[in-house]
Symmetry: C2
Subunit: 385 residues, 2 copies
Amino acid sequence: MSAAATLPTLETQETPALLLDVTRLDRNIARLRAHLSTLGPRLRPHLKTAKCLEVARRVMDGPEGPITVSTLKEAEQFAAGGVRDILYAAGIAPGKLDRVTALRRRGVNLSIVVDSVQAAEAVVRHARETADRLPTLIEIDSDGHRAGIRRTHAALMVEIGRILHEGSAELRGVMTHAGESYHCQGDEAIMAMAEQERAEAVGCADLLRAAGLPAPVVSIGSTPTAQLSQRLEGVTEVRAGVFMFFDLFMAGLGVCTTDDIAVSVLATVTGSNAEKGWLIVDAGWMAMSSDRNTRGQAVDQFFGLVCDIDGTPYPDLVMIKANQEHGVIAARPGSAAVPPDLPIGAKLRILPNHACATSSQHDRYNVVKANTRQIDAVWPRFNFW
Amino acid sequence: MSAAATLPTLETQETPALLLDVTRLDRNIARLRAHLSTLGPRLRPHLKTAKCLEVARRVMDGPEGPITVSTLKEAEQFAAGGVRDILYAAGIAPGKLDRVTALRRRGVNLSIVVDSVQAAEAVVRHARETADRLPTLIEIDSDGHRAGIRRTHAALMVEIGRILHEGSAELRGVMTHAGESYHCQGDEAIMAMAEQERAEAVGCADLLRAAGLPAPVVSIGSTPTAQLSQRLEGVTEVRAGVFMFFDLFMAGLGVCTTDDIAVSVLATVTGSNAEKGWLIVDAGWMAMSSDRNTRGQAVDQFFGLVCDIDGTPYPDLVMIKANQEHGVIAARPGSAAVPPDLPIGAKLRILPNHACATSSQHDRYNVVKANTRQIDAVWPRFNFW
């Protein structure tokens, strides 16, 4: 966006600020693309993590998509940027259908998701009233994680499919998200979950087809299962989002290393407490989010892992406490590590537990390349709904 | 702002959406004002929770303040709205001093905070270079919570005071925040903490005065200690912020009841799972925040306490899981409560664990009065830095 000449360096950038290492971003994207290219399905990247048109342009097949979004705000913003093939992957609330149709009338191939007779009936009613053949996927439950119809509820699935297909909507197929993969222990467990996600989705599509209903799309995905999938027969597309940025939770799961994490928060030292071994920085939970999802992992990263200004982690140095605009930096409990003796005004980078949550606390990415301190660009995010 | 006639009702409002019950807001403000008026000090409300000019106007002494802020963005936005007396209450990073002086040159009585020799020296250097007599408070540590100088480090405190006073800055006094009051058990413990906060701050001001230094301001405050303070001799002003909105954490602490909580998130039912006793709503951690601060309290509220559309809590109904845009609503584990049988499209209100964190996930307040469903106004928030 802005010319690099007018942009600050990491030394002069005001803090707290969200950094995006575009070298790591591009590497993460290339790695998943290479993996999927050996397996067949196309990538429909989930932009809920990035919420940013410039990131979308680096990850999409082409300028028109396809992509996945988590809000209609994202759909509208990406559509304004030229994206034309968008899946809104959260179960539709009937009150949002007018906004869906408004986007579709602007030429966007926007598809939606249902997992109940009631929602399917609302979609068909709206489709009839607006003469908009809303393309709809049935969400299936491949792992007991959240929403969706289980394969064992075949009659319900066919009923929903029939309502859509025989009504005024377009039954486009099935989708699922194996969110339970976030709780798998080890690569083998994730691979088994990936196969379960695939088999359940393909099995549900086959159930619809056996009932004479169309199911051209079989859409699956989560970052762990996408990274470790071994076969994807019958799957037409894979959705994943966190993989672009990665985070400490994914590193704890073994899906990436801390060297792959592309987002971090730049912070400034504002104080210290030698007796307690604390540094105080101007980034608290407002900059990091309150997400403590590594709490249950083998290595608890507290509110984030602390690196020097160039992104090299200090051993065992974490943000142990976070208030709104204050972070307390200290050695991980039990570690003999000693925090670095940094002056007031020194800069640190903090890696996040959860890239989606930390990024959502910011309205822009300050874009850097690996091994440089010059901010090259500022990319806006679309937050809210 | 907008005319009520063009604004939706709670039934037609798109979700997720942050609601602000202005009847409760005004009652909460009146209660703390009445309490403090019997004790003497003026209120310097902390606007870090609200980040909203319309809320500020309801809570300030007058249109020019005084107020407290947690970011320079807040200071700039409130200044643009006419506020003139602002304390930026987080330890200053030297790199932010240019932005401080820019605001002060626009006529804002903006004061800052230091708790080290290094920071004081940076302030004095900046003050000399810019000919801006930066009014500065020394942060003191009244409870071991975070930042500040302990009263036992009297020589250090006097040294910092002398650097400021004999340099080019204005030594304005001391400030402290008894953040540990959030972990007190019961009213008596909070009252004891309030007295400790008062005594430490006044004691530190007296140390400066005994050294011949000025300390006209003695600024203390946290919502629990402000609400339960019994005496405030020697204190000139009280800072508190959460008290305007309150939240489940403060209710768990006994500082308010759930009937006092003025902010909630309006959500729509998008699905259900009868076997699991789950309702799925379109508000997840993006709408609620990931803040789980009630986890350590006697009653764990998970990601929020669920109410009907009018704000009446269902017994033991909580958001037990939160993904980015999905919330799972169920009975609190161990409770025999049964979730209400609500159709897809039904609306719920969810009370937050932490008003600051939940509000920060939104860019506006949808303002309602108690016992009505008409949104009367939309008040913007200033997020980010």
